[in-house]
Symmetry: C2
Subunit: 600 residues, 2 copies
Amino acid sequence: MRFSQTFIPTLREVPADAVIPSHRLMFRAGMLRKLANGLFAYLPLGLRSFRKVEQIIREEMDAIGGLEIKPTVIVPGDLWKESGRWDAMGESLLRVKNRLDADFVVSPTAEEVFTAIVRDEVSSYRQLPLTLYQINTKYRDEIRPRYGVMRGREFVMKDAYSYHPNEASLEETYQAMGQAYRRIFKRCGLSVLPVRADSGAMGGTGSEEFMVESDIGDNTLLFCKTCEYAANVEKASCQPDFTLPSAEAKKNIEKIDTPSVKTINELCAFLKTDAKNFIKTLIYKALNVELDLSETPGGEKLEKRKPRADAPEVYPEAFFAVAIRGDLDVNEVKLAAVLKASEVALAPDAEAERLTGAPLGFAGPVGLTKIPVIADTTVTAMQDAITGGLARDVHYTHVAYGRDFTSWRTADLRIVRAGDRCPQCGGELYEKKGNELGHIFKLGYKYTQGMQVRYLDENGKSQVPTMGCYGIGIDRTLASIIEEHHDDAGIIWPSSVAPYQVLIIPVKYEGEMQAAADKLTAELEHAGIEVLLDDRPERPGVKFKDGDLIGLPYRVVVGDKNLAGNCVEIKPRNAKENRLVSLHEAPQELITLIRKDLLN
Amino acid sequence: MRFSQTFIPTLREVPADAVIPSHRLMFRAGMLRKLANGLFAYLPLGLRSFRKVEQIIREEMDAIGGLEIKPTVIVPGDLWKESGRWDAMGESLLRVKNRLDADFVVSPTAEEVFTAIVRDEVSSYRQLPLTLYQINTKYRDEIRPRYGVMRGREFVMKDAYSYHPNEASLEETYQAMGQAYRRIFKRCGLSVLPVRADSGAMGGTGSEEFMVESDIGDNTLLFCKTCEYAANVEKASCQPDFTLPSAEAKKNIEKIDTPSVKTINELCAFLKTDAKNFIKTLIYKALNVELDLSETPGGEKLEKRKPRADAPEVYPEAFFAVAIRGDLDVNEVKLAAVLKASEVALAPDAEAERLTGAPLGFAGPVGLTKIPVIADTTVTAMQDAITGGLARDVHYTHVAYGRDFTSWRTADLRIVRAGDRCPQCGGELYEKKGNELGHIFKLGYKYTQGMQVRYLDENGKSQVPTMGCYGIGIDRTLASIIEEHHDDAGIIWPSSVAPYQVLIIPVKYEGEMQAAADKLTAELEHAGIEVLLDDRPERPGVKFKDGDLIGLPYRVVVGDKNLAGNCVEIKPRNAKENRLVSLHEAPQELITLIRKDLLN
């Protein structure tokens, strides 16, 4: 392709809102333009790399037996009502009404559509397992889209869904997907951090996220300094940093005056002790709680309801007290999982004061009767703790779990932090920020049960299949490749995803230099190498600058002086120095280099 | 690919709403499933052919210098407001509001987005001409989607847009597109009818539609029995079937009583004459009229307005009397074009009676002063006509155009019919129904002017580029291939777009038959041929039936008896008879046949 015949509007300036390298470089290299906040158009150069990422993913999906299909982007809202996500998804779901007032959704993901197809078409165990996927447009109405295509509103996702007669079959596909994902990211030149959601100590792995390290990552990840443990903070656990008491508590509970002392810090100062000796009590409000609350304090007054006729019964709203050691924080993802709630958040102050009968800062688990208490496991070890006294300016000391109060549930609810101990080996954990590029997940029966998928097993018995889902964001993968492969001058494309593999720069596109450049282009293209020939009447400096910016893997400079000796200069984008190669040998040398790159 | 490893849910039954062959066969062959009215999911077999059509189009676009880009599917409503189509497009435009209450559109076409990109990126004549295209999801909120993907709501379209410094450059790209379209449809095995919008006699061709003949076609097309003339009835013209009078009218106009005689038919009977002797006068209401009406009867009272601040000034509503010969009908597309109106329709009865001062059936051009009269060219020849008398039960006879009344405008407004005479050669015209697969169109300055695109020409002067647009519907093209290539048993794929090229059916997939079928599959796949191997434990009859239904171009049957003689049966899907070929020669023979097909 001749530079003059394509459309690569390179820029010297950086768009003001482009704060990360991939965003800046995709704009500057003429790969991408902004249409609106979170909406981008890929220009020819960008689309070439985009399609290569798609194709790598497609090949690896096909290699493990995935079958590509193409449902619509605009899908019936009814399917989302069936699955319950019409209600459960917040405002990030873009909803549309058509001219007949029917509800539609601009797909953010496609569990519903794929499961509906399988429900209609699969009737026998002989059709299982079945792995279907699409590479298609998605939309999420992000509140704050930013970082270019790293967090856009419209994007393209490869999403695969697999259906299985049993857990072993799901496990097999899940493992194959995990391997395929590793190959995909390797082929894209990406160093990914596979992060298991609930690994090691917990047994069974139900989900794995494929992260790339990034300063602007959405996710906090914990890694062990000693073993391979890696987890998203949302799900990370750690080894206990406490021992359960071997004997009874020694001192009796005692009420003390703590005038206007509300915060843990104030209390530490007042009582000259450490936050670890406190039990913090937080009042949470949870929405759409599926757990049975009929036997809990206050639970008898609550009523389960169906948000819609075909949805499961839930408590629309319920309140809980969460007790946790004073130096720790509550992981709300874990809390929501324990409660089977769609959402949890700290209760509004007024509600908290009504339920505890005490001003803020004086809540405590001792004598709390209006709502259930959920204790973090750390609390179960505490036999001489300080807690709020459920009245203004009052605290308790020498509080013992089990003796002075107990809890409705205990669970691991703490946010794990750098410095905590690895749940697998006890090593020290450290933190990194990461962006999620892919996710594989054993969904189980959530959708197949909810949407009433049935097949007949070997014995003619009606069964529900189990299900997995597996996504990769194409745009974000492409941006991450640039994040990992660039320098101050521009992008440094891996050959596998480069828009073209070779850039040929004649110092001037005329005379012998033109003839040699044209011949080299033709020979390389004949061998299936993708070449960009810079035939523009620009100064060499401009062409070199644009070349470094666009970042094709190999640059060939065809100049008068070297041509006199029948040579050209070859420079890999990631090398510092040119190398003189004879004009005659240059094509074969480049072909060999690129073929080798593509094998990696 | 093994049949057992893919997902081809063939059906014996026909969906009740599938009334055309392609719709029936795409469902029965397991290519497609319905998600909702007008929304379909392509299953693996369907998607393979779909991608081949896409790829053929992509290759031909690239071959004429088209550059593929990928804007979003969800686009900012503001761009549509700028172009004026936010107002002008009716309910078929699917509009969405996001969480921030901003307006978006699910793209039905993309003149706005492409022009916005060009406006931002093109600044110099050196960047022109520029042809950009996408192959991307589109949505039109059809009132009555039907015939499967032939008229769905969501579909995929290749849409290209070209920008030029002058008319000659546009003409060059327009011609290249026309040739590319012919190659595309030929490679897809389609017989298309290219229909010029305003060909021949009118000079200059500004648009060409690529139609396939179809009983359920949306379009009525007119063809000449003698020459190559072809036109959509919306734009068709014909040679005059009248001669302009050489002398003055002989008889004086006369008022006659026609008690309760309102329709042309009643008048013909009453006056014992032919409809050709009447001048029919119809009152039309036109919306958003751009034409200047200040000098027309009643026009001085009308006021031009901007529907929105950045839209051009129009008359929101205006009325006209259209006079046409009694045996003809008014082509409202032509009328709207003459008036530069967004829409025209017969005025409501009450309005018509108010403007003519006469009951329905008695309108006429003589003495009509409240609104402008537009005369079809046929009327200009009428020197002894009958017209309504602008009062109850009154008509005029011996009316002469030019003497008794005149018109504000004359124009060709008639609907051309089978039997009319070709505007090019005078031959007889006949009609066919057709479906539009593609359309190429010289847009001119409509969008570039409206959206203020500017570039600097060779002399540093600011100029507006001219523009063309070029679309092909992928889904409809695919369905049309099946419409043209099928028989009672199923589809008969052309090799170029077949999901696989060879179907191998071992009579039983075991023993020597299995070994021979596997070997043949491997040899063909090694040569790049796409093979579907029917390894299912089904009866041969079932496999043959499914094979005919799916319709791959070549079928190879591997049976015990023939294998004993070292032979297999080869049958092209469109041939009646099998042919015995030695097992040894079969691969090369198939490879040769298929390569030959693909060259066509």
